[in-house]
């Protein structure tokens, strides 16, 4: 299975600023996904990132707040903009494995907004 690395693993940010999270996969993948896990909650899909096209956002998530880049087949970034305390969450990226149906996840980025 692919190894997925996320950076940073955690950060504390001031409200009103932005945080960019990087996700690196050790092999080429077609689709990458970004999820949010709010404190004590389940995971919610934010968007799907395909190389060479704009990300597809799920209901309730917008590009202005969560801009995503996917410059190549091994890398993606998620930016969480104009931070507020409600954005304090764990953000996880995942990637498809081609023929295998299961997705694999990075270790997550724990964001705290103060």
């Amino acid at each position: 299975s692919a190894v997925i690395s996320q950076k940073p693993s955690r950060d504390i940010c001031q409200r009103g600023t932005s945080l960019t999270i990087q996700c690196q996969v050790d092999s080429q993948v077609t689709m990458m996904f970004w999820y949010r896990q709010q404190p004590g909650q389940s995971l919610t899909l934010i968007a799907t990132a395909n190389q060479g096209s704009e990300a597809t956002y799920e209901s309730g998530f917008v590009i202005d707040k969560f801009p995503i880049s996917r410059p190549n087949l091994t890398f993606s970034t998620l930016t969480v903009s104009n931070l507020s305390p409600e954005d304090s969450s764990i953000y996880l990226c995942s990637a498809d494995q081609g023929p295998a149906p299961e997705a694999f996840f990075g270790q997550g980025t724990r964001l705290t907004v103060v």
Binding site: S42, T44, A103
Partner: protein, 114 residues
């Protein structure tokens, strides 16, 4: 819409006893079901999946799950629990249209006491 339900917020079991973590699903079309585990400060780790075939699916770390179509359930089981199994367990179903986009249940915290 695809959904899964995990009716128990927490399951407590003594080490050496069998454990069951419950999951029921609601899907249109064929159910593709997954279990993931999340240890503290770690990302999600894939445990097992049901796509088709045998109703009893074996996965990592001695876990297995039983797919029951008539009861629309996919309960996670292990014959003998370990203290190290204590973690947060998520059941997931494929989001319509893509294998790797997942809809997660609310999670069940498993606590194995020595």
């Amino acid at each position: 819409a695809q959904s899964v339900a995990q009716p128990e917020d927490q399951v407590n079991v003594a080490e050496g006893n069998p454990l069951t973590v419950k999951c029921t699903y609601s899907v249109s079309g064929n159910p593709y079901l997954f279990w993931y585990v999340q240890y503290p400060n770690r990302g999600l780790q894939f445990l097992l999946k049901y796509i088709t075939g045998d109703n009893l699916v074996k996965g990592s770390y001695g876990f297995e799950a039983e797919f029951n179509k008539s009861q629309t359930s996919f309960h996670l089981k292990k014959p003998s629990a370990l203290v190290s199994d204590s973690a947060l367990y998520f059941c997931a179903v494929i989001h319509q249209g893509s294998f790797q986009k997942l809809v997660f249940g609310t999670g069940t915290r498993l606590l194995v006491s020595p």
